[in-house]
Amino acid sequence: MTTIAAATVLSTVAACGGSDDSGGGSGGGGGENEASDIGVTADTIRLGAHYPLTGVAAPGYSEIPTGVQAYFECLNQEGGIYDREIEFIFRDDAYNPTQTSQVTNELVLEDEIFAMMSGLGTPTHSAVLDFLNDEGVPDLFVSSGSLLWGDNPEEYPMSFGWQTDYMSEGKIIGEYIAENFPDAQVGLFLQDDDFGEDGEAGIRQYIDDQIVAAERYTPGNTNVGPQIAALQAAGADFVVGFNVPSYTALSQLTALQLGYDPQWFYSNVGSDPTLVGSLLNRFSEGQVSDAALLDGALTTGYLPTVDMTDNPWIQEFQRIWDECGGEGELTNYRVYGMAQAYTMAQALQAAGQNPTREGLVEAVEAVGSEWEGPVFAPFRYSEESHMGTSGMTIERIVGNGSEEVQPVRITDIGDAPIEEFDGEPATPPTNAIPDEEPYEG
C-alpha cells in the first residue's frame, strides 16, 4: 500500500522533471513512516485553524477554509505528503478573541494538531500567539498582515507571517500616490488596531505632508457616518482605506448618503470587488448597481485573482475547485486558501519524511525564502525574519476584475527601500503539487 502510493508520487515527480532522489517516499532517509510528533501518524498529519465563519468579519473570510480544504483533498488523492493524508480541522471564532482562545485550546489540547496554519485575523490571532509559542506548536502562515507574526522571531519562534505585511503595503501605496497623485489631499480610513496603525505608519513614510485627515473606526460599530463625514469635511479628495470588506461596503454606502465622491484606494484586505458588489447590489433598484460603486477604485495585489483566467495558477486552482471543492464558485478567498495550502505543502515536504514540530520551523527558516508559488514575490523567511511575502502590484478595479497599473514592487518593514521586483512569475508544477526536497539541516 505504502509502496504503491509512493510510486504515484514518484511518477508525478518524474513527470515534472524532478530528479529521481528528490521528494516522494524516497526522500528524507527512505525509511518507514513513523508517528514522529504530536499530530503525526504513519498515515496522517493533522493541521488546525481558526476563522470567522459567522459574524461581521465572516463575509469572504469564511470561504478561505473551503479553499484550503479543496487543495488538501486533491493533494490527498494524489498521495498526500510522504503518503500521509492531510487532515485539516478548522473552527469558528466569530472574529472574537475570547472565542479564538477557546477554539485554539481545543485544537491544540483535544484535537492534538501537529501545526496551526492560516489562523485568521490580527486581534484574534494575537490572543493565541503566546499560547501557541509556549506550547511549541508551529504557527504557520497567519492570515493577517500584522508585523506581530514575523518581526520578532526570538520572542515568537514558532510563528510565521504569509501575506504582505500592512506596513510594506502602506509604503508601496504611499510611494505610488506620491508619484502619481502628488496634488491629492489624502484622507485615511483606518481600522482602529494594528491593521490600521501599521498601514498608516507605512503610508506616512511617503506622503505625510499630503495627508489631511486620519479617521478610525472600531470594528463592530457599524455607524461610520461621522468618520466619512470628517474625511469629507477635511477636504480629502483621495481616500485610502485599511479596512475589512464589510467596512468597504459600509464606507461606500455612507459616502452615497453624504454625496461624497473621492478617488478610493482600498488596501488588499478590503477590496474584493465581487464580495463588496454582492453586499451592495441588493440596494440597487436602479441606484447602486452591483460592483459599479467600486469601479475605478485602486487596490493592491500579491496573488493572482479569479478574473485572471489566463494565469496558470488560477487555471490549476479552478481545476482543483471543480474536482475537489464544494458548492459555489471559485472566489479570491478560496484562491487565497489554496495558495496558503500550497505553501503549507511545500513546508511539510521540506520538513522531511518524519517531520517534527521543530524540524518544520527550521525548514521554513532555512529554505522558505527559495520557494516559488502563486504568490508574486518571494517570502522573507530566515532565522532573523519570519515575515511573509513583501511584493505588491497596484491595480485598478474594473467591473468585477482589475487591471494592473503598476507591476510588482518589493520592500521590507522599517525604512527599507522599495525596489522593482525582477523575478519571473513561477509556473505551477503538475497538479499544482509542489516538489520540495527535504531539508536535512
Binding site: 461581521v56 457616518g225 461621522p226 468618520q227 448618503q257 453624504l258 461624497y260 441588493r282 441606484q287
Partner: protein, 294 residues
C-alpha cells in the same frame, strides 16, 4: 458647519432606529411588566423571514406584512408556551427565561437561515437628498424610518390612552388580581400584549435592517442601545422612548464625530449617559411609574 449638520443628521437617523427598538421594549413593559431580553433576536427572526421572502421574489411590502404577522404569532406563542409557566413567580424568573430565549432564537436563526452576512433591501433610496448643490445625509430610507417610528408611537399612545383594550392591558399589567376581579380577561391581555410588542419589535427589526446588512446577531449592538434609550425615557412612555432614542443617537454621533478616536468611545459613552440620567432622574426622563408603584 456642513460637518456639524452631517453629524447631526446621521445621529438623528441612528437615534430613530434606537427609538424603534425602545418602543417595542416599552410596549411589552407596559403590557406585561417584563423586560424582554429576547426582543432583539425575535425581531431578527422575523427580519430573516422577510429576507427569505424577498429573496424568493416577493415584494418588500408583502414581506413586511408577513414579517409583522409572524411577529405577532411568535410573540403570542412565546407568551403562552414559555413565559406563562413562570409568570406569577419571582420577577427575575421571567427575565432569565427571556435571556435564554434570546440565545436560543439567535442560534435557531443561524441554523435555519445560515449565519452569513447579507444585505437587506429597502423600498426607498439610499442616496442623500440634494439640497441646492450640497447633499445632506438624509436619505429617502431614513425619512421612511422616521415616519414609521412616529406613526407607530402615535398608534401606541392612542391604543393605551383611548381604547378599552389599552386600558384593560394596562390594568392587567399593573395588577392581575384587581383586573381579574373587574372582569378583565388577564390571560388574553398578556398574550395580546406580547403579540403587539413583537409586531412593533419586528417592524423595528425591518427598519433597522433596511438599506444595510444583517446576520443572525445584527441586533446585538442595538439591544444595548435600545435598552439604554428605553430606560432614559422611563421604560413606560412611548414618547420617552422616542426622546431617549434621539438623545442617545445624537450624543453618540457627536462623540463619534468630535472626540478623538470617537468611534472607540461610542459604547462606553452610551453607558455614561445612562448613568448620568439615572442619577439625575432615577425613573428616567418621562417616568410616571413612581406614583403607581406606591
Amino acid at each position: 458647519m456642513d460637518y456639524f449638520v452631517n453629524v447631526t443628521l446621521t445621529g438623528l437617523t441612528q437615534g430613530m432606529i434606537y427609538s424603534a427598538f425602545a418602543l417595542a421594549l416599552v410596549l411589552i413593559w407596559r403590557s406585561t411588566r417584563i423586560v424582554n431580553f429576547a426582543q432583539g433576536s425575535m425581531a431578527a427572526a422575523t427580519t430573516f423571514i422577510a429576507l427569505a421572502l424577498i429573496q424568493a421574489g416577493q415584494s418588500y411590502w408583502v414581506a413586511l406584512v408577513v414579517a409583522l404577522a409572524s411577529g405577532f404569532v411568535l410573540g403570542a406563542i412565546v407568551e403562552r408556551v414559555i413565559i406563562r409557566p413562570v409568570e406569577g413567580g419571582p420577577e427575575l424568573n421571567a427575565v432569565i427565561v427571556t435571556l435564554g430565549l434570546f440565545v436560543a432564537i439567535q442560534a435557531s436563526i443561524a441554523i435555519i437561515f445560515g449565519s452569513s452576512f447579507q444585505s437587506f433591501p429597502t423600498p426607498f433610496g439610499v442616496r442623500g437628498l440634494e439640497i441646492g448643490d450640497s447633499t445632506i445625509p438624509l436619505t429617502p430610507t431614513s425619512i421612511y424610518v422616521i415616519g414609521s417610528v412616529l406613526l407607530v408611537m402615535a398608534l401606541l399612545v392612542a391604543l393605551f390612552r383611548f381604547t378599552r383594550v389599552g386600558l384593560a392591558m394596562r390594568a392587567s399589567a399593573f395588577s392581575q388580581e384587581v383586573a381579574r376581579l373587574l372582569g378583565v380577561k388577564v390571560g388574553g391581555m398578556l398574550t395580546l400584549g406580547w403579540g403587539l410588542a413583537a409586531v412593533v419589535g419586528s417592524l423595528s427589526g425591518l427598519l433597522i435592517a433596511g438599506g444595510t446588512f444583517v446576520w443572525p446577531a445584527y441586533m446585538d449592538a442595538l439591544i444595548v442601545f435600545g435598552f439604554v434609550a428605553a430606560i432614559i425615557g422611563g421604560l413606560d412612555s412611548p414618547v420617552g422612548a422616542i426622546v431617549g432614542g434621539l438623545i442617545l443617537g445624537l450624543a453618540l454621533s457627536y462623540v463619534s464625530g468630535y472626540a478623538p478616536r470617537g468611534s472607540a468611545l461610542v459604547n462606553i459613552s452610551a453607558l455614561v449617559i445612562l448613568i448620568v440620567v439615572l442619577l439625575v432622574r432615577p425613573g428616567g426622563l418621562f417616568s410616571s411609574a413612581t406614583a403607581r408603584r406606591a
